[in-house]
C-alpha cells in the first residue's frame, strides 16, 4: 500500500459506509473478496487481522445473539416464551457478524499499512477545508504534531514515575476499580506538573526559533497525490456502483 495517506483514510471510511449497502449474499461476497484483495496487497499475515477481531469477539457474538433471539419475521424455527429464532433472524445475525468483521478488518488494514505520522499528516490535510470556516487549522496541526512527538516521551516518563512510586512501596495492582484508579493520582500529579514545566520550556524554545501562533509558515513536508491514488479512487467508485446494482437483485 503505497497510497497517499489521505486516500487511505478516505478509502477506509468509504468502505465502512458501503458495508451498509450489503443486504444479500452477493453483495457480502463482493465486499469480502475486495477486502481479501486489500489484505493480500497489505502483505500482512491474516493472524494480525484476527488479533484485531479477537478482543471484540464477545461484543460481536452478544449483539448477534440479541439479533438472533429478538428479531421477528421469516420462518419461525424455535420458540421459548418471548425468545424465538426465525430464519430471517439467522440470516440477519450472520450478516451482522460479517458487518462487524469487515469494519474491524478494514480499520486494521489502515493501521498496519500506515504510520501514525502519515495518518496525522493525512488528517491535517483533510482538515484544510475547515480553514474556510475560520478554524485555525495550521495551529490544530501544530498541536497534533507536538502531541505525536511527545507521546513516547510521556510514556517513558509515566513508566519512570510508576517505578519510583513502586520503589516507595506503592502497589498499583491492588483494590477495586476505583481504588486502583485513585492510586494513579501520585503518578498523574508529577506528570502534569512536569508537563506544565515542559510547556513553559517548549514555548520559550519555539518562540526563540521564530514561531508565532497564526503567522504564515512554509511547509517542509508535502503530500503528493499520485496516479495510484486515482486508480484506487476509481476502484472504489466501481465497487460502490456494483454494490448498488447487486443489492437490487
Amino acid at each position: 500500500h503505497r497510497l497517499d495517506p489521505r486516500m487511505k483514510i478516505i478509502a477506509c471510511f468509504w468502505y465502512v459506509v458501503i458495508v451498509f449497502l450489503a443486504n444479500n449474499v452477493l453483495t457480502n461476497v463482493l465486499l469480502g473478496l475486495f477486502l481479501l484483495f486489500l489484505i493480500w496487497l497489505s502483505k500482512v499475515s491474516l493472524k494480525m487481522y484476527w488479533q484485531g477481531i479477537k478482543p471484540l469477539m464477545w461484543v460481536i457474538l452478544l449483539t448477534a445473539a440479541v439479533q438472533l433471539f429478538f428479531s421477528t419475521g421469516g420462518q419461525p424455527i424455535w420458540q421459548w416464551h418471548f425468545l424465538n429464532i426465525t430464519s430471517l433472524g439467522i440470516i440477519q445475525s450472520i450478516y451482522l457478524i460479517f458487518r462487524f468483521a469487515f469494519i474491524i478488518t478494514i480499520s486494521t488494514v489502515l493501521t498496519v499499512t500506515t504510520t501514525t505520522l502519515q495518518l496525522a499528516a493525512g488528517i491535517e490535510s483533510l482538515l484544510k477545508p475547515l480553514s474556510y470556516l475560520k478554524v485555525p487549522v495550521s495551529q490544530l496541526a501544530m498541536m497534533l504534531s507536538i502531541a505525536l512527538r511527545f507521546i513516547p516521551t510521556i510514556m517513558d516518563e509515566i513508566q519512570t514515575i510508576m517505578d519510583a512510586q513502586r520503589a516507595r512501596g506503592m502497589d498499583f495492582s491492588a483494590g477495586n476499580l476505583f481504588q486502583r484508579a485513585k492510586r494513579l493520582v501520585p503518578v498523574m500529579i508529577p506528570l502534569f506538573v512536569s508537563s506544565f514545566k515542559r510547556a513553559d520550556d517548549l514555548a520559550l524554545a519555539m518562540e526563540a526559533r521564530g514561531y508565532q501562533p497564526g503567522a504564515p509558515r512554509t511547509a517542509y513536508r508535502q503530500l503528493r497525490w499520485h496516479m495510484n491514488d486515482n486508480w484506487a479512487f476509481l476502484t472504489y467508485v466501481v465497487l460502490t456502483v456494483a454494490l448498488i446494482v447487486l443489492r437490487q437483485i
Binding site: C12, L184, L191, F192, D200
Partner: protein, 165 residues
C-alpha cells in the same frame, strides 16, 4: 511573561495534554471484574484539560485525543465518532465548569460531559451495528466516564495550587 507568551504556553500545554490523554487511553487500562471488558483513563485526561484550560482546548484535547487513540489502537471505524463524542465531552464539561465555582456544580459539569459522551457512542454503535451493540456499550462507557471524572477531580484539586496561568 506577556499575554502572547501565556497564550503560546497554554497552546503547548494543551498539545501535551492531548498526548497525555492518548497515553492514558493506551496504558492506564483497568480490567473490570465479571466482564470481559475494561475501562481506560483517557476521560481523566480530557476532563483535566477541560477544567484547566476551558471548553475550547477541552474540546480539542477530547476530540483529537479520542481520534488519535482510535487510530493508534486500530479502532479506525470509531475515529469520527470519537472525535464528536469526546470532543463534545470536553467542550460541555469545560464550559459548564467555568460557569460555576461550587463543588456540586463542578461534579455536574463532569457528569453532563460523561452523559453526552455515552449518548454519542450509543448513537455510533447503533448506526454502525445494531441497537443491541449500542446498549451493550452504555455500561462500560458510563463506568469509564465516572472513573475518569473521579480521578480528574482528585488531580485537579491539587494541581490548581501548582499550575499558575
Amino acid at each position: 511573561m506577556n499575554n502572547q507568551q501565556k497564550g503560546l504556553r497554554s497552546f503547548i500545554f494543551a498539545a501535551l495534554l492531548l498526548a497525555i490523554t492518548v497515553v492514558f487511553g493506551r496504558i492506564f487500562i483497568i480490567p473490570i471484574p465479571w466482564t470481559h471488558g475494561n475501562v481506560n483513563l483517557c476521560d481523566a485526561g480530557i476532563f483535566i484539560a477541560a477544567m484547566l484550560l476551558g471548553p475550547a482546548y477541552g474540546g480539542i484535547v477530547g476530540g483529537f485525543g479520542g481520534l488519535l487513540l482510535d487510530l493508534i489502537s486500530g479502532f479506525t471505524q470509531y475515529a469520527p465518532f470519537s472525535l464528536i463524542a469526546h470532543g463534545l465531552e470536553g467542550i460541555i464539561s469545560g464550559w459548564l465548569y467555568r460557569k460555576t465555582s461550587s463543588k456540586a456544580g463542578h461534579w455536574l459539569a463532569l457528569a453532563l460531559g460523561t452523559v453526552v459522551m455515552v449518548a454519542a457512542y450509543f448513537v455510533a454503535d447503533t448506526i454502525m451495528y445494531k441497537i443491541a451493540a449500542g446498549l451493550l456499550g452504555i455500561g462500560t462507557n458510563l463506568l469509564q466516564g465516572i472513573v475518569g471524572a473521579v480521578v480528574a477531580m482528585l488531580v485537579v484539586r491539587s494541581l490548581k495550587q501548582r499550575i499558575k496561568f
